[in-house]
Symmetry: C2
Subunit: 278 residues, 2 copies
């Protein structure tokens, strides 16, 4: 497995790295970023927080605008930020920004022309964790996961389907029930075909309704988010969690939108949430 | 004077705005950003910190990557970030990234073809302060100024030539003696012609050697900055300040480069420096 350093830059006392490797899951080169905090000395292994990004994003958006390094350096958290899809000339794409490259939805596509490369589920749940374990000073018994929008969907579904893997789960403005909203209703048939059971395995609300559990979840959601009612609908998650006995902390943040100006405003709270549990 | 809101987004409890106005100084539309912290209520006027950006940048780089909002919101600082030059199809430009659009060097050009629009000195010292005074909740008796690289040069020279206007001055990896380094030796003759006296009025070290004073300056400089010895040479500033009795705090930051990963790492320290003096 090839593994290449694109850049390593000192920041907040740690190292913000960007790396590229040839992914066996996607069959493409994949780029991801890792922030390694200053506590990573003398072979010390540190807790790791995964950040899954949203539609149109690469690793770079949160890496540049997420404002996570100051507190991650203080708390001693490794922060891993994958890309949101395979990319490249030989990879299927769509003219829309909510499908194709930049919109992998953290599923393993089974339909043509997506199936050969759009295998982000395997990528973020198996391949990249194995690579991170091998190359970075991480204690994989202390993992947390978070994400934004489509990446919030990814974080919730990955956590719900890997009981015990993550000690902490949170999300920023997540898609909580993709099978009930337009983004998912466009992407899931496209990537997964007509088998609705396959869709439901990637729907956090449906997973909870069918018995998947995590102990607790932190969600921040801006009230001025233009996608709130149409695509995100956090109250569906609230209802499912209440019924299932999952302790959901859902914070409706007055006047905040869907951007990184929102994410960065509450990044500290999420880092502390994870830090306390890792 | 037209004044238009491009966007206002809630962040860290305040408002991150981006604005456009028709500049009489440059004869072009100019875009700038202002962060208004949450303390701006009930007509309260707040201290203001100017951030002048470096080569190739617009207002957007520091606005997105500077990581200043969290602490500015805590300290109650308004943060104003101008563009680095006039821009547009009718504006002179150069193929190099260190001249022309994105490289105004905070001077009023006197030479063709730059003179009609490249009037960034007047813009940042007169026109934009007047506009900010009119439209934002600022106490102009409590101003600080900082900047990065070419913008550090701007911050130092603007402060040195406006005694008493700024209660605090700092810079990230500034060009301190443009007449002694290639960037300035390319830009100053181009913009200002052959009159070396005009160049020296835009050279912080020369200004200090000729008697200009500020009480104290904070400068952070990365030791892994590729421009350190060729273009920045902070020890020239150190020598000039020592001779002039200016209290310079020059911090050489081990392993840091010239990027926003460096700037954001020390942004808190600079905000606190200004906050304590404003």
């Amino acid at each position: 497995m090839s593994f290449e350093i694109i850049s390593t830059i000192r920041s907040h006392g740690g190292i913000q790295g960007v790396y590229r490797h040839q992914s066996s899951a996607t069959g493409t080169p994949m780029v991801f970023s890792v922030f390694t905090p200053p506590q990573a000395v003398n072979g010390r292994k540190l807790p790791v927080l995964w950040f899954l990004s949203g539609l149109t994003c690469t690793h770079a958006n949160v890496t540049e605008k997420g404002e996570f390094r100051r507190l991650a350096a203080e708390l001693g958290l490794v922060i891993v930020c994958p890309d949101t899809s395979p990319r490249g000339d030989g990879v299927a794409d769509d003219a829309g920004w909510d499908l194709g490259q930049g919109a992998g939805f953290y599923v393993d596509a089974t339909e043509a022309p997506w199936a050969p490369h759009f295998r982000m589920w395997t990528y973020v749940t198996e391949e990249l964790p194995a690579l991170v374990t091998r190359h970075f000073p991480v204690d994989m018994d202390r993992q947390g996961i978070t994400g934004h929008s489509m990446g919030g969907h990814g974080a919730l579904t990955v956590a719900l389907r890997h009981p015990g893997r993550f000690k902490s789960v949170s999300a920023f403005a997540p898609i909580v029930a993709p099978t009930q909203v337009p983004w998912g209703q466009k992407a899931f048939p496209t990537y997964l075909g007509s088998d609705k059971a396959a869709w439901l395995r990637h729907d956090a609300v449906a997973l909870i309704e069918h018995g998947a559990l995590v102990p607790e979840i932190l969600v921040d959601q801006g009230t001025a988010d233009g996608f709130l009612e149409g695509q995100l609908r956090p109250h569906l998650l609230e209802a499912a969690c209440q019924k299932a006995g999952i302790k959901l902390t859902l914070r409706m943040q007055e006047g905040y939108d869907h951007s990184y100006y929102f994410i960065s405003s509450f990044m500290d709270d999420h880092l502390r949430w994870h830090g306390e549990r890792l």
